[in-house]
């Protein structure tokens, strides 16, 4: 491996950091265009509400892309970019990030062909990446064993870029159908579909955290948090998706919303815990060139934040579109 890849990783990390900050900046503009409070709650389909939900989904997809960009930069650097295909998630997540930023800023009520294409590319990358990672694990001696699941290419990791692509793609469908009677994805009610996809994503990501925290023998009790809170959040989201749309009382889902905010916060607190984990390795941060790679992965926890934001977008759409 050449040391020339260092700059690339540095660039990837820097871009991720900038993007993460940008994605989470509260935007004054958004507030200005917010639906007036006086608007009757059951105003029927409203294009602006759909676009707002779509933009929230863009943001969620973008945050997931940030996590993927940073995580794959670090982890594929650790893997010395042995295979040229290992650059793919960096490029694709960077593109997805750019498209998501574009989508977040875009208030037009129709899908954007380039964004659509890039989200599909991201989803395809996730699927292909999973295939590559399965191949990496099974080709090692010992095959599909705990050793290779722990230390080989993480099977669940490419799912994050797949989810980013799916959420982004859903976002474009919500925009496209914003003028229709109800926003939908392939004919399915959009909010419920997105809630279900997000819930599945939470379960998968929680499973990945569970595997790696099991590898760390849950030596710190807080390591149990990302394997307990997200599955509950997933259950709440599934429940929201399955609720009778005509039941007016239940459309606000306050507990589920609160839980999503909790998960969003957990994603950020997780980075703090992982930074503490890095500091506990020999040499601490002074030995960063080893411990960033050997310690708990800093970019991993924010993928929970990305999914939680997607969950909030779905819940918001659900509230404003009773039959979405």
């Amino acid at each position: 491996m050449s040391n020339d890849t260092d700059w690339l990783v540095g660039a990837g990390l820097a871009l991720s950091a900038i993007a993460a900050t940008a994605m989470l900046q509260p935007r004054g503009q958004t507030k200005v265009t917010q639906v007036p409070a006086s608007l009757p709650r059951r105003a029927g389909p409203h294009p602006r509400a759909s676009v707002r939900a779509a933009r929230r989904l863009n943001r969620a997809a973008g945050l997931l892309a940030v996590s993927v960009l940073a995580d794959s930069s670090v982890e594929h650097y650790r893997g010395s970019f042995k295979n040229k295909a290992m650059y793919t998630p960096l490029a694709v997540s960077a593109l997805t990030l750019a498209m998501s930023a574009h989508g977040t800023a875009d208030r037009r009520p129709w899908a954007h062909r380039l964004r659509d294409g890039s989200y599909l590319l991201a989803a395809a990358t996730g699927l292909a990446g999973t295939g590559f990672h399965v191949y990496n694990v099974t080709k090692k001696v010992g095959g599909f064993s705990w050793q290779n699941l722990f230390y080989g290419a993480p099977l669940g990791a490419p799912m994050a870029i797949l989810l980013s692509g799916l959420l982004g793609f859903c976002s474009e469908r919500v925009r496209d159908t914003s003028r229709a009677q109800r926003p939908h994805v392939f004919g399915l009610p959009a909010a419920r579909t997105i809630a279900a996809v997000t819930a599945a994503g939470l379960l998968g990501t929680s499973g990945e955290a569970g595997l790696l925290h099991f590898r760390g023998a849950f030596h710190n009790p807080f390591m149990a948090v990302p394997v307990t809170l997200p599955p509950i959040g997933a259950a709440l989201l599934f429940n929201a998706a399955a609720r009778d749309p005509d039941d007016d009382q239940n459309r606000a889902h306050p507990l589920t919303r609160a839980w999503m905010w909790l998960l969003a916060a957990m994603g950020f607190v997780g980075v703090g815990f992982h930074a503490y984990g890095v500091s506990r390795n020999m040499g601490g941060w002074r030995n960063w060139s080893q411990n960033i790679l050997a310690g708990p992965p800093l970019p991993a926890p924010p993928s929970f934040t990305g999914l939680a934001l997607a969950g909030l977008a779905a819940l918001g759409l659900m509230r404003e579109h009773p039959d979405a």
């Binding site: 090692k140 001696v141 010992g142 705990w146 050793q147 722990f150 230390y151 099991f214 590898r215 760390g216 023998a217 030596h219 710190n220 984990g277 506990r280 390795n281 020999m282 040499g283 030995n287 080893q290 050997a294």
Partner: protein, 571 residues
């Protein structure tokens, strides 16, 4: 920097004045209870390694007063250990010893430690359980000697030690009866370990990650392993769960006193044939620590040496030696290897040296022309060790050696830990020469028996096939190495054929105990450290039980003495 950096821990004792070094903080200290020499403590323990360190901890936690003496220095690994093979020979017991017999043992490096924590400070951390049948190898397998302990009892003590050391091991262990999950997960395999795995899979036998006493996740102030590969030269990160960073801090917290640079030269026995304490050399002079019980835990050479050096007119052949077996039945383990070159870069210097293992030939009984068993593990020799291996075992020197050394990063090897049978002729005796303390030095006599040779030949042939199957070229065998020392004060059921009973109490002197690898009747084909620590835990439990029943001799004597005092006072 610490306030004692000027003081060399190999020259000036550190544990004194009510404090002992804090192994987790450079320059740090922890409080330590101190006893005067003329205070009669419940237990004085000679040696602080896998046997003595563990026992000191357990007995102190059970409320006994304990002073543990070690001839070696008290290191703080974080500040005292260099990443350097030469420098770290300071961990070895390099006092003068004579080695003879048909297969003289190489001593002083891998098999002998001199530090608080003993050999566990530089052991390879391989933490294996005995095969259950080995505890009754005479009855069940037809060789060696039976242990006076049931394997099921040992199984629970193994669990206790595995928890205490946070052993990193595989999720499921392929051999033997079910065991609880290892507390920490196995480490990632390095390329050398994957070579072993490839060979096993090609030959159709099981392999697994080696259960290791080094952390795969943080534990308190101890850092997880950074895969620096200097394990057998001492771990400078405290990832290695040696007695120095596990049992001994616990012992101190429970009120035990540790005395470093304290060489015990003689155990004192009174006319009632009870021991009364030990004479030890520290700070340039001889001292006498009074004790109700003495535990010898100096490993299989220093333990018999001390017992023999403590001979008196009433105990002419040394203490606890009415059976004549003190010093006999010395067992090392065969440590032969097969080496080869891979096209791939292996760089086996990364990670603990033995990350993968197969115990197939410990558990398989068919296809053997020998008694006993062996495990074999992947290897990761550092440059000095590797160069010396090429020179000594392969006879390379000159240009051939220097050239061969440039293949270092492509070397892969498999090495056994093989069972050697107990033989009375393999023994520790005293030579006429004396060491720096004026104590007679040990003479260690060792010769292989035919069974030992057959086991070695079997292993070398099998490992050669395995290494070929894994894709190695230029394969050669190293047929001269040994590791570990056990058996010079064996335990048993009969005072005529053993030195101590199942509780590690000597048959002859009821307040003299032996608690280290010396008590092994057989060694099995696994590294002994886990078993030594399990025995120590069991011994502590037995001592506590006996104390509660008032069956400790020292206790009885003390009570008698108190009664006498009371009588005379009232008179």
């Amino acid at each position: 920097m610490s306030d004692d950096m000027s003081g060399d821990p190999q020259v000036t004792p550190r544990a004194s004045g009510g404090r002992a070094p804090d192994v987790f903080r450079p320059g740090g200290w922890v409080p330590m209870r101190s006893y005067r020499d003329d205070e009669t403590v419940d237990f004085v323990i000679v040696g602080t390694g896998a046997g003595g360190g563990t026992l000191a901890c357990k007995l102190a936690e059970y409320g006994f007063s304990v002073v543990a003496l070690d001839a070696g220095p008290y290191f703080r690994p974080l500040e005292d250990f260099a990443s350097d093979e030469s420098e770290q020979t300071k961990l070895y017991w390099t006092d003068d010893r004579i080695s003879d017999g048909a297969n003289p043992l190489q001593l002083g490096s891998n098999n002998s430690g001199k530090a608080v924590g003993g050999s566990t400070v530089h052991f390879a951390m391989v933490s294996l359980r005995f095969r259950p049948e080995w505890f009754k190898s005479r009855t069940l397998l037809g060789y060696g000697a039976d242990w006076p302990i049931d394997w099921r009892e040992m199984w629970s003590y193994y669990t206790e030690v595995e928890q205490a050391l946070k052993i990193s091991g595989p999720i499921t262990y392929p051999w033997g009866p079910k065991r609880p999950r290892y507390p920490y997960r196995a480490h990632p395999l390095n390329a050398a370990a994957r070579v072993l795995a490839r060979g096993c899979e090609a030959l159709g036998i099981s392999w697994t990650e080696t259960p290791l006493a080094t952390l795969s996740a943080p534990r308190g102030l101890a850092h997880p392993c950074v895969y620096r590969g200097f394990c057998v030269a001492g771990c400078s990160t405290n990832a290695k769960q040696s007695a120095l960073v596990t049992w001994i801090p616990r012992a101190l917290a429970a009120g035990a006193e540790i005395r470093d640079l304290a060489m015990v030269g003689r155990i004192e026995v009174d006319d009632r044939d009870l021991v009364t304490g030990v004479h030890y050399h520290r700070n340039g002079g001889w001292h006498f620590q009074r004790a109700r019980n003495v535990v010898v835990a100096g490993y299989a050479i220093e333990t018999p040496r001390l017992l023999l050096n403590s001979a008196t007119g009433r105990h002419r052949d040394g203490l606890a030696n009415s059976s004549g077996l003190v010093g006999r039945n010395l067992m090392t383990q065969s440590n032969q290897a097969v080496w080869g070159l891979m096209d791939d870069e292996i760089r086996s210097y990364k990670g603990p040296p033995s990350l993968a293992i197969t115990e197939h030939w410990n558990y398989a009984d068919k296809g053997k022309d020998f008694f006993g068993g062996y495990a074999y593990m992947s290897q990761g020799p550092l440059p000095q060790l590797w160069a010396n291996t090429l020179a000594q075992a392969r006879g390379l020197w000159g240009a051939r050696l220097v050239e061969e050394m440039t293949n270092y990063n492509h070397v892969a090897g498999l090495k056994i830990v093989g069972e050697m049978l107990p033989q009375e002729r393999n023994r520790v005796t005293l030579a006429d020469e004396v060491d720096q303390y004026g104590l007679r030095i040990p003479r260690v006599t060792y010769s292989w028996c035919d069974n030992d040779r057959r086991l070695i030949d079997h292993s070398l042939a099998f490992m050669t096939r395995a290494l070929q199957a894994a894709g190695a070229k230029d394969i050669w065998t190293q047929d001269d190495d040994t590791c570990h020392l056990n058996g010079t004060a064996r335990m048993g059921d009969d005072p005529r054929s053993s030195v101590v009973d199942a509780d590690c109490r000597s048959w002859d002197i009821p307040n003299l105990w032996i608690c280290d690898g010396s008590v092994f009747p057989t060694v099995g084909g696994v590294n002994p450290s886990l078993t030594i620590q399990a025995i120590a835990c069991r011994t502590a439990d037995r001592i506590r039980a006996m104390a509660r029943r008032g069956e400790l001799t020292g206790q009885r004597a003390e009570r008698t003495r108190r009664a006498v005092h009371a009588t005379s006072a009232s008179a």
